[in-house]
């Protein structure tokens, strides 16, 4: 019955009204001394149990992506699942827009928090269209409004509704499933999204595409997002803020990516982010951020658009074995000369501006 294509009329009007719901607000998120301990059979607390979390405190402002990153067993997923209370904390408070999630009705709480997991967890017995509309159906939207919302979100994540809405999940590729998973989590316009390794199950090329697309989407949606990954590069790319967790669920460092790369708080963090953290910092900056030198004879030099990441620019210069490349401005006119030296000196400057990333 969901097969009926939307026609003009009431359903069309509904699309108009739901459009505004795509961007209605984000919530702030705060962890206050949150711990999760897992007792042994005898009731004694086992120190260092995988998944345990130890006295976490940090704040995520509304509209920011906060990435939880750390080695396996460090409690990332536990931390995430305590927000929608799939796991109950042993101590501490989690505040959503200043309200302790423990004081809310658990079902109502979960329905206004988007939830995306690595395995996606699409319902195999429902069509893509109905999968996306699962939460709207739970909270009692009309069928027409569910359908309109579902089509709107499929378009938003780049899946043509006409082609996809009547398919079953088994008829999708891994990347398409992840998109449907994101669309489903956005359906009831949640002020907070929890994403547990959402892109880890797809191949590296598809993953990069999904990450870029999601960042583009987030620019428009500006949701608050708690994002779990074990991949440092993904954390640096996706995070406005990064919480590095160490074994035992301790918060090893919390801050913007550039700060974590430039000033790791401990040997653990330095080792975890890797010896190439200098290069990683270059991927936070683009050619547009660079102070350039006057151009001399420019024949045959590589050119860089303003959006080119410095890490890529450096790599191109090293491979091409030239003295420099030409930085272009937005209009494609030469702006100045980029050399290995000016790329290196960029890291000495002030921290990367998160707004100019991508």
């Amino acid at each position: 019955m969901e097969a009926a294509p939307l026609t003009t009329g009431p359903a069309g009007v509904e699309t108009g009204t739901t459009r505004s719901e795509v961007r209605s607000g984000a919530a702030s998120l705060e962890f206050r001394g949150v711990s999760k301990t897992y007792g042994s059979g005898s009731g004694a607390v086992v120190v260092g149990t995988p998944g345990a979390v130890n006295d976490l405190s940090f704040q995520v402002p509304a509209g920011a992506i906060c990435v939880l990153v750390g080695p396996s067993g460090c409690g990332k997923t536990t931390t995430l699942k305590m927000v929608n209370r799939l796991i109950e904390p042993s101590a501490g408070q989690i505040l959503l827009d200043g309200v302790d999630v423990q004081t809310e009705d658990v079902t109502a709480l979960r329905r206004r928090i988007g939830y995306v997991i690595q395995q996606v967890g699409l319902f195999p017995h429902l069509t893509v269209g109905r999968n996306v509309a699962v939460v709207p159906a739970l909270v009692g939207w009309s069928k027409a409004r569910q359908r309109a919302r579902s089509d709107e979100l499929l378009s938003l994540v780049g899946l043509e509704p006409e082609r996809y809405r009547n398919r079953y999940p088994a008829q999708l590729s891994g990347g398409e499933r992840q998109r449907v998973g994101v669309a489903r989590a956005l359906a009831a316009d949640p002020p907070l999204m929890l994403m547990d390794e959402p892109f880890a199950a797809v191949d590296p090329i598809a993953r990069e595409g999904l990450q870029d697309e999601f960042l583009r989407l987030q620019k428009e949606l500006a949701k608050t997002i708690l994002f779990v990954t074990h991949d440092v590069d993904e954390a640096i790319k996706m995070g406005d803020l990064i919480a590095v967790l160490a074994e035992g669920g301790r918060l090893a460092q919390f801050g913007p990516p550039d700060e974590i790369l430039s000033h790791p708080a401990s040997d653990f963090v330095a080792r975890f982010v890797g010896e190439d953290r200098g290069l990683k910092r270059l991927s936070l900056r683009t050619v547009a951020d660079l102070k350039v030198e006057p151009i001399g004879p420019a024949d045959g030099l590589p050119t860089f658009t303003p959006a080119t990441k410095l890490r890529d620019a450096l790599s191109i210069l090293l491979v091409a074995d030239t003295r420099g490349g030409i930085a272009l401005d937005e209009a494609g006119r030469p702006r100045g000369l980029v050399t290995v030296d000016n790329i290196a000196s960029a890291l000495a400057d002030e921290p990367a501006n998160p707004r100019t990333r991508e």
Partner: protein, 222 residues
């Protein structure tokens, strides 16, 4: 006797009415056994899923029942409840349990954990999760159990003929033909019973297709 043909068509033509009546009885006995057996099994399976420790016990009991020869069980029940529908149904029902319970449990076990995790995470109440997610996804294996139990019960109903002429469905003809060394009756009872089992099985396959369209959609990938 040696001049008797394998099938006496004139006998067949003269008995179409009674044969139809026996088919009806056969289906009726099967339907009761399968429905009641399914209800009891669903309960037992639900207990087994909630209390995993009890599952081995349930398996031992239902399998134990299955080892009792049906012939002996029907004969024993005549002592208690006479040649009644009850005497026919109790063993038939008991024999379905061993076919139903493991399939129902496996059906619910087969629901992927990530599907359950996301259902919980999106705010399904336990009841909504069971009805809208677990039950539909368990259907393929539950129907597999239903097919086994139905086919097996249609075969077993013929043995209830030993309870008396008023029971047995098509088994009445098999037993009567045996006593009278009348192959026409044996063939009519046996072949029609097989026919019923095949038709019922096909019907259940179709039912499953209708109930679970997603299981056949796979081939339609662009």
């Amino acid at each position: 006797m040696s001049s008797e043909p394998l099938v006496r068509w004139d006998w067949l033509a003269a008995h179409l009415g009674p044969i139809a009546g026996r088919i009806e009885q056969h289906l009726y006995l099967t339907l009761i056994a399968v429905s009641v057996g399914f209800a009891i099994s669903f309960l037992l399976a639900t207990v087994a899923i909630r209390r995993r420790r009890l599952y081995p016990l349930i398996v031992v009991v239902t399998t134990g029942v299955y080892t009792i020869p049906s012939f002996a069980l029907f004969a024993a029940l005549i002592v208690f409840s006479g040649p009644s529908v009850l005497s026919a149904e109790v063993p038939l029902i008991m024999y379905t349990l061993v076919l139903f319970v493991p399939n129902i449990v496996a059906g619910f076990d087969a629901v992927p954990w990530d599907v359950l995790d996301s259902a919980d995470g999106m705010g399904y109440t336990p009841g909504q999760r069971w009805w809208h997610v677990e039950l539909p996804l368990a259907i393929p294996l539950v129907v597999a159990g239903l097919r086994l139990a139905t086919v097996s019960t249609i075969g077993l109903v013929t043995i209830t003929s030993i309870l008396g002429d008023s029971l047995g469905g098509l088994g009445y003809y098999i037993l009567d033909g045996y006593h009278r060394t009348f192959t026409t009756e044996i063939l009519v009872g046996g072949l029609l019973s097989i026919g019923l089992a095949v038709l019922a099985d096909l019907g259940l396959v179709l039912l499953q297709r209708v109930l679970t369209p997603w299981t056949t959609a796979r081939e339609a990938v662009r």
